[in-house]
């Protein structure tokens, strides 16, 4: 818990900023791409000290604290626990992959594109590392502008509509978040998140603050019925934009629920849990049903995201160890899997210049490597055992069945729908007639490079989730302990202790 000598988190936040300034001086498209790629790799190197994360502690680590605006008690306060560590690693790892997958896709205003990518990374790391409420809000809002530009400048034909909808929706949601932050400051006397977590707030404040925060986070997730900006944004965004949107931005919503709603407004969380669970189930079912009818690959994956994020919010609002573990697992897995799927759609688009399923059918015979990756990520997306998403979904479902048979029973069709729409997509892409793939080339080395790491993680987390669970477990334990101490809400008894059995963990758990 002591402040480390090297400010890792600050370095992770400010290095991309510095790199984007350096880019201004660089001339030549190739040089810009290479430099950004190098910056992305350097950013990963900078993240290496995070390996010193103490797995036994559930508290905040790598804490950095400095005075910022003393008149209002604002502090520059950074720190991470297991949950934010995973999210930061995901964000950092995606930067070079995004550069690689945009190598040919982005052909105009290249320098600006890479500057925007770097700014995004900076803001995203900041969101997950901030421990001061205002600092969090600063990064949370700062991220809107680069994302808006990603969609509005490099997007598809309908980009104007999609980008404005994205901006309006998310900004409208978060204005009330600011009011909630101020209300917490007025009641708790500080903007520091760890300090606020130790305080108990009046039920009335909790009620309204929960609503304000939940609106912001539910729009970001997005939960049904606030999801309508997502398909529009995904379809129009360039590949890298979609990847960042799906893998990182959506996670901020659920991260907000975990980091702010549960510790700060525990009573209101319990009050609203039935509503949130119902909305989550609605997201799961609605997302699945709509995905089933899509002709556009990106739209299909976008709606599947709505369903997957429904599993995350469902897991969170079960308030049980299994549920929250599953939720965090699912956050990470959705980032990996959906990121991979969007990259693959981008790769298909580069070949066929269309995202329609009908224009990309029958690739199996001609593009075996492409279909291998597509198959792997699709199976992961539908939660096939042995892939990463299975772990997350299974944990959430276990938690749901512990809560009540009804909740679990309603979530099951969602998992089945996922299988239906993903297998339909997979089948058409691999064997659909008439086949379009005869003239397409298979994956080039660059594409191998950006898909392989994600594929490795799909299998690694799928087959050996222990390490990931170990990282998040102490933080989740602490979160739930504080939560139940505050609310006298005890999660239902846990007869099934899956995560600690060899079935889920392999051998390591028994050692």
């Amino acid at each position: 818990m002591t402040a480390s000598s090297f400010p890792v988190l600050s370095a992770l936040i400010f290095f991309p900023l510095a790199a984007s300034l350096a880019l201004l001086a660089v001339k030549g498209e190739e040089a810009v791409r290479r430099l950004t790629l190098a910056a992305g790799l350097a950013e990963i190197t900078l993240a290496l000290p995070l390996a010193g994360f103490d797995l036994a502690s559930g508290g905040f680590q790598f804490v950095e604290k400095a005075s910022w605006v003393p008149q209002w008690g604002l502090t520059y306060h950074l720190g991470i626990d297991g949950i934010s560590l995973l999210m930061i690693l995901l964000t950092v790892a995606l930067l070079p992959l995004c550069v690689l997958c945009s190598w040919h896709y982005i052909s105009r205003r290249i320098k600006e594109f890479h500057i925007v990518l770097l700014l995004m990374t900076s803001a995203c790391v900041g969101v997950f590392a901030a421990l001061d409420f205002v600092l969090f809000y600063l990064f949370w809002e700062a991220m809107l502008v680069p994302m808006y530009l990603l969609i509005a400048v490099w997007g598809g034909p309908n980009k104007r509509y999609a980008s404005i909808k994205f901006f309006l929706y998310t900004l409208a949601g978060s204005t009330l978040l600011l009011v909630a932050i101020i209300a917490f400051y007025a009641a708790g006397g500080t903007f520091s998140i760890p300090e606020l977590m130790t305080k108990t707030f009046s039920p009335r404040l909790q009620f309204w603050a929960f609503l304000a925060m939940a609106l912001a986070f539910a729009i970001k997730c997005p939960m049904f019925p606030f999801h309508t900006w997502l398909p529009a944004a995904h379809v129009e965004a360039p590949t890298a934009g979609s990847v960042l949107l799906a893998s990182v931005l959506l996670k901020m919503g659920t991260y907000g629920f975990l980091r702010f709603c549960m510790p700060l407004t525990p009573d209101a969380c319990v009050t609203f849990a039935p509503l949130m669970i119902a909305l989550s189930l609605a997201s799961i079912l609605y997302g699945g049903v709509i995905a089933l009818g899509q002709k556009d690959m990106k739209k299909l994956i976008a709606y599947s995201s709505v369903g997957h994020m429904g599993f995350v919010t469902l897991g969170i609002f079960l308030f049980s160890q299994r549920g929250v573990e599953g939720a965090v697992m699912q956050m990470l897995n959705h980032g990996i899997t959906t990121g991979g799927l969007f990259m693959l759609v981008g790769a298909a688009y580069e070949r066929s210049h269309s995202r329609e399923i009908s224009e990309n059918m029958g690739l199996g015979k001609y593009l075996p490597a492409y279909m291998f990756f597509f198959g792997l990520f699709s199976l992961s997306s539908l939660g096939f055992p042995g892939t990463n998403s299975f772990v997350g979904e299974a944990l959430v479902l276990v938690g749901a069945f512990q809560e009540s048979l009804l909740v679990g029973g309603l979530a099951i069709p969602g998992a089945m729908l996922a299988a239906a729409y993903m297998l339909r997509l997979l089948q058409k892409l691999a064997w659909g007639e008439p086949g379009k793939g005869a003239t397409f080339t298979d994956l080039c080395p660059r594409e191998w490079i950006y898909l392989a790491p994600l594929a490795v993680f799909v299998l690694y987390i799928g087959l050996a989730p222990t390490m990931t669970l170990k990282v998040m477990d102490p933080s989740i334990d602490k979160l739930l302990k504080d939560f139940s101490a505050r609310t006298e809400y005890t999660a239902t008894a846990r007869p099934i202790n899956l995560a600690h059995t060899p079935v889920m963990n392999g051998k390591e758990a028994n050692q």
Binding site: W68, Q71, Y137, L138, V153, F167, A172, L178, A186
Partner: protein, 467 residues
Amino acid sequence: MTLALLPEILLLGLIVLIFCLVVAKPGKDVAGTWLPVGCLAVLAAAGASLGQSALLFGGTYQVDPLSQFMKMAVALGLFIAVTNSRGQATLKDEVRADYSMLLCLSAWGLMLLASAVELMTIYISLEISSYALYALIPLRAGDKRAAEAGIKYVLFGAAATAVSLYGFAYITASQHTTFLAELTTKQWDFATNPGALVGLIMFMAGFMYKLALFPFHFWCPDVYQGTSNETAAYAATLPKLGAVVILVRLASLLVPGQPGMTILAVLGAVSMTFGNLSALVQDDVKRMLGYSSIAHAGYVTIGLVAGTAEGLASASFYALVYILMNLTCFWVVCHLSKDGRNMRYADLDGLHQRSPVFAFVLAVAAFSLVGLPPTAGFMGKLFLLTAAWGRGYDWLVIIAALNTAISIYFYLSLVRHAYTHDPSSASETKNSGLALGTLFAAVLLALGILPGPVYELAAQAGKSLLP
């Protein structure tokens, strides 16, 4: 004493110098080259006199942290406005020197206003500033709309002044003094002293007119649209500072919960909502900025109704941030408009190609006006909202927060046209003013990331009024 009055004396010296030169060489642009430097000197003088305090001229003129903070803001704004007005396309050559002189005279009146602590002095300072501006507004060569704007500004201004004076009479009649220091010790609630409260609100109305607070806003969009870009830049920003400083002084007389405060809060809420909703449908950039200034006047009232030192400090800080971000926005508009005609959104198309620097400066200013981090506008708004929360006007805070969501659309339109639209024609762009524009954008970002030192000045000003 000399140091305390240095900025005013220096500015008055500049004005007299221009006057003499104009008399000696009528019709020549005698001030164009050196005036920005002179204004920088005034800014330096204002900075040097920051720590001063004095009570002069029979207790009517007070040099305190608030006045010095505002004088610095006025000097900064004047420097930008004067630099901006150089090479104005729609100004006849023979009136250029007079234009500069009137600009300085108006700012001088505002500086006096910042220090005035007696109602009559306040009134006279306001009029010095306003009369100069009445003459400035129609100075747009051969444009009938400018004449219309001038007439509107004079007529509405005269009416507002009359109301103000009427209120002044009520205050004097019921409180038997015109000194603010003594007025603070009097009763101001409706039950014991209705005449005084009515008088105070009427007196404040004159300043609400300057601030373009609803329902005193009618003149604002028309005047901005009619007058030249450069004059609009000045009229939209600096007079508001004067209004804010007086409203800050007067608001320290009131206690939250009183009818006077509640009226102010309601006017603020209506002002921001009305301003933002009207700005949504504008096509002319200056007109949009006009309506947006009505909204921003509403934001400032949030700090006034808080009734705390923090609230007054936030209002002062926001006023400074407001003139800076608005002048930055106007800076880009003025420099892009080659022949001085009004800009439409479509004229900004493809700015990122024509002039990437201006596109960036405009984006920073626009996002600051929205209140998005990491710009000064966000910090200003954060301070305002935080100061007012829990003071009985929580609804106002919520309305202000929701207004951010309304306002994003039209400010984003600036950025959208600049960044995402392709240029309609191969029109070239003047590339003057890039360096200063970048500097203003940098200051907006710096104030958004580290507002502490500048806010400290405003905080002292607030504390000096409500210890």
